[in-house]
Assembly symmetry: D2
Homo-oligomer: 163 residues x 4
Amino acid sequence: MRPEPFAPRIYNGDERFVRDETTGWIYHRVFNRALYADTDRSGIVYHANYLRYFELGRASLMRDVGFPYAEIEDSGYVYPIVDLALKYFQPLVYDSPMWIHTRPADLERVRVKFEYVILHAETADLVCKGHTQHCALNAKGVPTAVDPITVKTWKTFPNTIKT
Amino acid sequence: MRPEPFAPRIYNGDERFVRDETTGWIYHRVFNRALYADTDRSGIVYHANYLRYFELGRASLMRDVGFPYAEIEDSGYVYPIVDLALKYFQPLVYDSPMWIHTRPADLERVRVKFEYVILHAETADLVCKGHTQHCALNAKGVPTAVDPITVKTWKTFPNTIKT
Amino acid sequence: MRPEPFAPRIYNGDERFVRDETTGWIYHRVFNRALYADTDRSGIVYHANYLRYFELGRASLMRDVGFPYAEIEDSGYVYPIVDLALKYFQPLVYDSPMWIHTRPADLERVRVKFEYVILHAETADLVCKGHTQHCALNAKGVPTAVDPITVKTWKTFPNTIKT
Amino acid sequence: MRPEPFAPRIYNGDERFVRDETTGWIYHRVFNRALYADTDRSGIVYHANYLRYFELGRASLMRDVGFPYAEIEDSGYVYPIVDLALKYFQPLVYDSPMWIHTRPADLERVRVKFEYVILHAETADLVCKGHTQHCALNAKGVPTAVDPITVKTWKTFPNTIKT
């Protein structure tokens, strides 16, 4: 089954953001390359390592909208993942350049969801799509309402872009 | 939302296999402990590392039914993951003992699916559930019919258990 | 340059310990297999992953002498690594069975050192040798005298073996 | 024991290279940040993950002098690590910004050595120092003379910098 085409265009002249022409969603993007450490003996990137790329995507998004995730944890919250999924279309190999696209998707009372699309940076091949859903916990590890900074990020993205 | 209870009972007197009383499915199981390397600064196992545990689960299953995955690759096949999902219920921490339960689930013409359930080995808490779907590729990287050994494993599990 | 031969013999009838006939040192040992996740595109285990094996070695040693490392951290200490080295002689590949040999080596006032030797479990080929040196820190992160349990482990090894 | 001070100054107006005022050596440098995935439950970067940073350092060096390592492997060589060592002075934590400094050090007939220094990018604290030594293997896995491109890199660094 063919995935829906992902057709990113630079958004508003800022290279860090794109608009997917298919869905209209805005994504943050960050460039990265596959390390030798990321590959396995079949010559491609080991499936679990795409989750590192997703982490890099959401950390970069948070930083570029002005709220590094480290600051959110410092304010007394932690956001463990409660659910994730990934579909793989075309593998990356050693040294493959990639664009990691990330967008803040659903916002619920105690949970937030990020969506990701990775493209090969030269061929523009669709590499994988996925999501991670996170639950807000307070310092005692109890589920709690999503913190105000994260709510703001979700509600105003990408208009809070720090330039 | 509460997950369906997972109620494993030793199957047929063989400690390496259990029957889930809720669904009737038979699972292979293998014991493991979380390394310090697997944890992150929030004190729990980093989400991507559960995919290592899943790999340990399916490798142990294949070996215990008599067909180590290395032999399948040596015969000219490779089974990259095309789809995976994971739900997390209760985190593991450093040194947590766990049972990794794995079963061969769907068998299609060019794809196979494993399902996994991880339990804390002392508390029997449900840690996570997930699946990985793999596509059979031949030596040239072209999708191909699932190899005969894997088909046999799926069709006869757990009756081909090597004792 | 050829490494000194490592010639382990089961020690005192306990399969978890060996005596190196060359040096006379006693080592704890634990069995492990290389995961697909541990390999890289050259087909061998990625060099950094041997440090996971070393961690498994020292965690198993501590547990088998009766003092799991988790308990030492619970008592208010942490032992970050301040120095390590590794020499590689023969690579492990996917699914390679290995014996990880670990011994408590030097004991200083605030530092302890482990030494490791990994052998291929079937061919007995020497895979790698290495050490890790750890500094005792108290709960505030300040270097402090090595905790009494660790001192005891170093001074009595392997005579405190829990059977 | 205090390490020798590392005193990097931008070299020749090119931000990608520095000269250490203490030793006079020229290093390539690349910026990076610690991921959550890199940390462990003690709150710092797990010791093995600095080897990923070293890999990023040497891959970036090779690319910036015009010879990506992927091309060297494509020409029929592979450079597994035969020896490495690391000294840790000050830990990195989640999201720590760092400069990874790498220089081509010894060149032997079949072996090459890289040296590394990591500094915290804001405080300039010395984080760790280390080296990796690599052995040239041909396509059959036999030790062979270091390839001409690598020899050239070692002999002319940093004068072959691609601008």
